[in-house]
Structure formats: structure tokens, C-alpha cells
């Protein structure tokens, strides 16, 4: 019994030839579940139909049929009618008539052929589009900078229009809450640099210069760079995602229609918070890195803390410290502008939100490093 029903449900396509006329007798279940078998059956039949003059499809044996099965049979009839051959479809059960009629109407329009450009043209187009996009990126950055300045000016004119609650909240989020992770990472970086310094400098007896290296490197360059990169990853991405999802849910449009400038409500407090927080984080980060270096000097390099502090005192000056700290707010500005403008560029889809967040982090880290390089050139030329 069970075997019998299974046999009945397996799809079959019996082909009967009489002269040039072909009769097809599909039977069993012509449904999507048997798609693989059905496609093989109709493909084989299609090959044989090339020679025949007329086709007759007898559907009496079909137990079940759905869109897929009906479409495969329809394809066979179209193959014949396109060559002006006669096709007869008989034995369609009453309940399937509607479906067969519906399928007869679909896929009639021939899709417009899309002109494929050549390989070279394609590459050229790609380069052109990339260049255009780079120019657009710069324009977006400058636009945001301008909007930010004008928002800041209006705050100076009417100090009460500054969103103090929002600013405090953002400061708490990007400043206070970031302190533990920043301290931990910079501490480790300082310790690693000191350990490497001792390990390699010991070979030519230059142990004591490790302190100079750690001190100058951390205070001038690494402290601010590491902290900026971490803030770009931690807070920059959060800014982009927040503003992006607000954009997606039309919250930003809602703000604009109420006559409120989204830049002064959403963007300005975020960027100001970042500009305030990054120098503070840089200071704490540099101290943690020096502490890590000192600890390694004591435990690994056999240099007692008083000596370490003494040498550090000689090695670094306030100038070094200033060079590091001056850079921090500018880096914060770059991170904030990139993060916010990428957030506002999010389009409707979730994919766009993800893409813009990635772009924001990658771009702000890149710009932070470029900026650090420019500052290095600048400080070298003014002799700091």
C-alpha cells in the first residue's frame, strides 16, 4: 500500500512517438518537492522535441501540480509554439485549470538586453567612480565641518541653546565609561614597549635609554594615537550606528520638520563631548603607559622606581607632553566629524547601516594616522 502511493507520487513523463507527432503523458506529483527530477525529465524531453512536428500533452495522469511543474510543461509547449508547431494540452483537471491558465501568461516579456561594457571600459569606469566618490567624501567632510562651525557660532551667540544634558550624557559615555579599557590597553602597550626595549637594548648595554624611548614614544606619539584609535573604534562606531538608525527611522527628518537643526541637537553635543574627552583620556592613557613601562623596568629590567622616575624626568620635557596633548582635540574632531557624517549618510537598509559603520571606523582610523603624520612634520619644522 505504502509502496504503491510512493510510486504514484513519483513524477514520470511517458513519451509516445507516432511519426513526427509526440505525445507526452506526465504523471505523478509535479510539485516543487520533486524539482530536481522534474527538471531532468523535461530537459530530456526538450531535446527530443526538437525534431517533432506536433506535440500533445495529456495531463490526465497528473496527481498534483504546482507552479514549478506547470511552468516546466509550459516551457515545453513554448519551445514548440516558438517554431510554429502545433501543441495540444488535454486532460487538465478542473482544479488545475486556473493555475495552467495563469502560468500561460507569465514570463512573456523578453527582458531588455543589458549592454555589457568591455573589461577596460569597466575598469576605467570603476576608477572614475572611485575618484568621484573620494571627491564627494571630502565635500561631505567639509560640509559637516562648516555646519558644525555655524552651529557652534549660534551657540556662542545664544549660550542657552547648547544642549547641556545631551553633552553631559555623551561625555559620560565616551569619556568616563571609556576610562577602564583605555587604562588597561595603554598600560599593556607601555609594558610591552619597555620589555622589548630592555630585551634588545641590553645587548649593547644601552638599558638606561629604554626610559627615554618609552617616555618620548608614549608621551609624544603612542599615547594619543592608541587612545584615538580606540575611541574611533569604540565611540565613533557608536555615533555612526546611533545616527544611522535614527536616520533609518526618519527621526532626523522629524527633527528637521519641527524646525530644529539636527546638527546642533545631535551632532554638536557628540563632537564637543569627544573633543573634551579625548585629551583627558590621552592624559590618563599616557600615565598608564608610563606606569606599565616603569613596572616592567623594575620587575624585568632591574631598575628601581626612583631611578626610573629620575631618568624620566631628564628624558621628557613639557614640550613633549604638549606635542602629545595638542594633537588630541584635533583627532577627536576628525573622528567625530567622520562618524557623524557617515551616520547621516545611512540609507534605508540594514546593510547600509553596517557598511557606513565600517566605513566610519576605517576612515577615522586612517585619518587619525594621517593627521599624526602631518603633525609630526609640522612640529619638526617648528622645532618642537
Amino acid at each position: 500500500m505504502n509502496e504503491e502511493t510512493q510510486l504514484a507520487s513519483a513524477p514520470q513523463l511517458i513519451r509516445l512517438f507516432s511519426g513526427n507527432a509526440v505525445e507526452l503523458r506526465p504523471s505523478g506529483a509535479w510539485i516543487a518537492a520533486n524539482a530536481g527530477a522534474l527538471e531532468a525529465l523535461t530537459d530530456a524531453a526538450a531535446l527530443e522535441l526538437r525534431q517533432s512536428a506536433s506535440l500533445r500533452i495529456n495531463m490526465a495522469g497528473v496527481a498534483e501540480i504546482d507552479t514549478l511543474g506547470a511552468w516546466l510543461l509550459e516551457k515545453l509547449t513554448r519551445q514548440m509554439t516558438s517554431r510554429d508547431r502545433h501543441v495540444d494540452v488535454v486532460g487538465v483537471s478542473e482544479k488545475d485549470e486556473g493555475l495552467i491558465a495563469e502560468i500561460r501568461e507569465v514570463n512573456r516579456s523578453v527582458p531588455l538586453a543589458v549592454e555589457r561594457p568591455g573589461l577596460v571600459a569597466d575598469k576605467l569606469e570603476h576608477v572614475g567612480r572611485a575618484a568621484w566618490k573620494a571627491a564627494e567624501d571630502i565635500a561631505v567632510f567639509l560640509q559637516m565641518l562648516g555646519a558644525l562651525c555655524s552651529a557652534l557660532l549660534s551657540v556662542f551667540r545664544r549660550p542657552r541653546s547648547l544642549r547641556l544634558t545631551s553633552l553631559t550624557y555623551q561625555l559620560y559615555k565616551v569619556g568616563w565609561q571609556a576610562i577602564p579599557i583605555v587604562l588597561l590597553i595603554t598600560f599593556l602597550i607601555g609594558a610591552i614597549i619597555a620589555q622589548q626595549g630592555f630585551f634588545h637594548f641590553r645587548k649593547f648595554g644601552a638599558d638606561s635609554y629604554v626610559v627615554d624611548m618609552v617616555g618620548i614614544l608614549v608621551v609624544r606619539e603612542l599615547g594619543v594615537l592608541i587612545v584615538a584609535i580606540m575611541v574611533a573604534g569604540r565611540s565613533g562606531s557608536a555615533y555612526t550606528a546611533e545616527l544611522g538608525s535614527m536616520k533609518m527611522r526618519e527621526e532626523i527628518d522629524a527633527l528637521s520638520t519641527m524646525g530644529i537643526d539636527p546638527i546642533s541637537v545631535l551632532v554638536l553635543p557628540r563632537i564637543l563631548a569627544l573633543v573634551c574627552a579625548l585629551p583627558i583620556l590621552t592624559f590618563f592613557g599616557s600615565m598608564a603607559a608610563l606606569y606599565g613601562g616603569g613596572l616592567v623596568a623594575w620587575l624585568y629590567g632591574n631598575m628601581s622606581p626612583p631611578i626610573f622616575i629620575e631618568r624620566l624626568h631628564d628624558a621628557i620635557s613639557v614640550t613633549h607632553f604638549e606635542v602629545g596633548m595638542i594633537k588630541a582635540p584635533f583627532m577627536a574632531l576628525v573622528i567625530g566629524i567622520v562618524a557623524c557624517s557617515e551616520g547621516l549618510r545611512v540609507k534605508g537598509s540594514a546593510e547600509s547601516l553596517g557598511r557606513q559603520t565600517t566605513t566610519s571606523v576605517v576612515k577615522s582610523i586612517f585619518l587619525v594616522i594621517v593627521l599624526d603624520g602631518l603633525f609630526a612634520v609640522f612640529f619638526a619644522s617648528i622645532g618642537m
Binding site: 516543487a32 524539482a35 504546482d66 507552479t67 486556473g98 493555475l99 507569465v106 516579456s109 534605508g348
Partner: protein, 259 residues
């Protein structure tokens, strides 16, 4: 075997669903007959979506049983529930199209996962489905973000119908559409139901589509079915909420002329 007796597509028996202490569905029983369009109405927050989500296995019931095509439904991770998932299609309220895929790829997705067929056939079937729901093959290349509300619903319906399911669940299919598009969509559902022999379980607030499309109407109130039957039967129900819903100002068009 029992061709004479109407076959049951969905059988809900004594269902209890709740969140924490709050009971949303309270000992509810409901049968959906194969080949009918059942419209489910209820006040906002009365548990219509909860009922639908428990039938499709997204919410675990606290008590009672649900059978779809004779298979009991557990949680969505249950193997048996997943196996039956190939036999139903679901149109979510906001379409729930995958935003990283084009409309055509969205329709192809269930086909690609369930079947092993050539890419050419996949394209042809997807185009056929798009045309059946009233879109053109060119619309298939658009991404969900580029589609209008009505088109999104149509693509979502095409995706729900991709595997020629026996049952289609529609969650507020006409909400957010203008009356003309809503009317078109109603007609589309009716046509597809006839040609494909679907069973349709439709959650809706649209009085017009309840009136024109649904074979039977179930009114959900206080976690139970307050009224069940054709529009004619439901209009005569004495349940206070059902009266307010079907005899309120907005439902004057349902009233028989002259009464």
C-alpha cells in the same frame, strides 16, 4: 478517504499563551478548513499576532496543542516544525524582505534552500512568481530599500508563495496601502487562493477586505474567539466588542441596506 468532510488545515485546541503572569491567549480553540480564507480580527493588543506567531512556532505555548496539516507544532527550533515550514508561507507585516538581496533573490531564497535546480529555472520561477503577484521582471532587480510599500508587500507575498505552500499566513496584508492598492491586493489574494488552492490565515483590520475576501471571520476578544463564521453570522453576534467593531461608525458599509 474523507473527501466529503472538510479537511482541517490548522487545528488549535485549548491554546494558552502568555508572557510572565499576563495571559494573552486564554484556552482558545480554532479550526481553519483547507482552502478557505479566514480573517482574524481583534483589538490592538488583543493577541492576534501572538496567536499567529504561536501557530507558526515563533512563540512557545504554555498549554494546548497546535496542529498544522496534521503535524503538531513545537518551538521554531523543533525539527518537525522546521520540516513543516516548507509547507507554509508567511507575509510579515512590514514585509521582512532581506535587505541585502534583490527582490528576485528574495523570492529565490526559499527555492534555493529547499530545492536543487538550475539557476536558469530559479530565475524563471522567480520571474513567474513576481508576475503572478503583479510585478514585472524588471522590478526583480530592485533592492527592498528601492521598493514602495505596496511593492514590498507584493514581493513579500511572492516570497511567501515561492514554494507553492499549502497555507499562507498574512499579517495585516493591506495595512499602510491606499484603498486602491489594498483593493488590488485583496483581489490578488483571492485570485491566487483560487488558482493555487491555498488556505489563507489573515490577520487584518481592514473591514473592506474582511467583507470581500474572507470566507469566514474569527473575532478575537479577551483571549478567546468571541465570534466565528461568515460576515453575516459575525454581524449578528451579541458580544459587546464584536458589536462595537462591526457596527461602529466606520463599518456602516457592512450593514444591510435599509436596516
Amino acid at each position: 478517504m474523507d473527501k466529503a468532510a472538510p479537511r482541517v488545515a490548522i487545528r488549535v485546541t485549548d491554546l494558552v499563551v502568555g508572557f510572565g503572569r499576563r495571559v494573552v491567549i486564554d484556552h482558545l480553540s480554532l479550526d481553519v478548513v483547507q482552502g478557505e480564507i479566514l480573517g482574524l480580527v481583534g483589538a490592538s493588543g488583543s493577541g492576534k499576532s501572538v496567536l499567529m506567531r504561536s501557530i507558526i512556532g515563533l512563540l512557545p505555548p504554555q498549554g494546548g496543542t497546535i496542529e498544522v496539516m496534521g503535524t503538531p507544532i513545537g518551538s521554531a527550533s523543533d525539527r518537525r516544525t522546521r520540516a513543516i515550514a516548507g509547507r507554509w508561507g508567511i507575509l510579515f507585516q512590514r514585509g521582512a524582505l532581506f535587505s541585502s538581496l534583490t527582490a528576485r533573490q528574495n523570492v529565490q531564497f526559499p527555492l534555493r534552500e529547499a530545492l536543487t535546480i538550475s539557476d536558469r529555472l530559479l530565475d524563471e520561477i522567480a520571474n513567474a512568481k513576481l508576475e503572478m503577484v503583479g510585478l514585472s521582471a524588471e522590478d526583480g532587480d530592485k533592492f527592498p530599500a528601492e521598493l514602495s510599500g505596496g511593492m514590498t508587500k507584493r514581493v513579500a507575498l511572492a516570497r511567501a508563495l515561492a514554494l507553492d505552500p499549502a497555507i499562507v499566513f498574512l499579517d495585516e496584508p493591506t495595512s499602510g496601502l491606499d484603498p486602491i492598492s489594498a483593493g488590488d491586493f485583496d483581489a490578488l489574494i483571492k485570485t491566487l487562493q483560487k488558482t493555487l488552492g491555498l488556505t489563507v490565515f489573515m490577520v487584518t483590520h481592514d473591514l473592506a477586505s474582511l467583507n470581500t475576501v474572507c470566507d469566514r471571520i474569527a473575532a478575537l476578544a479577551d483571549g478567546r474567539i468571541a465570534a466565528l463564521g461568515t460576515m453575516h453570522d459575525v454581524l449578528r453576534s451579541e458580544h459587546p466588542w464584536v458589536r462595537a467593531y462591526f457596527r461602529g461608525k466606520r463599518s456602516l458599509m457592512l450593514q444591510p441596506k435599509g436596516s
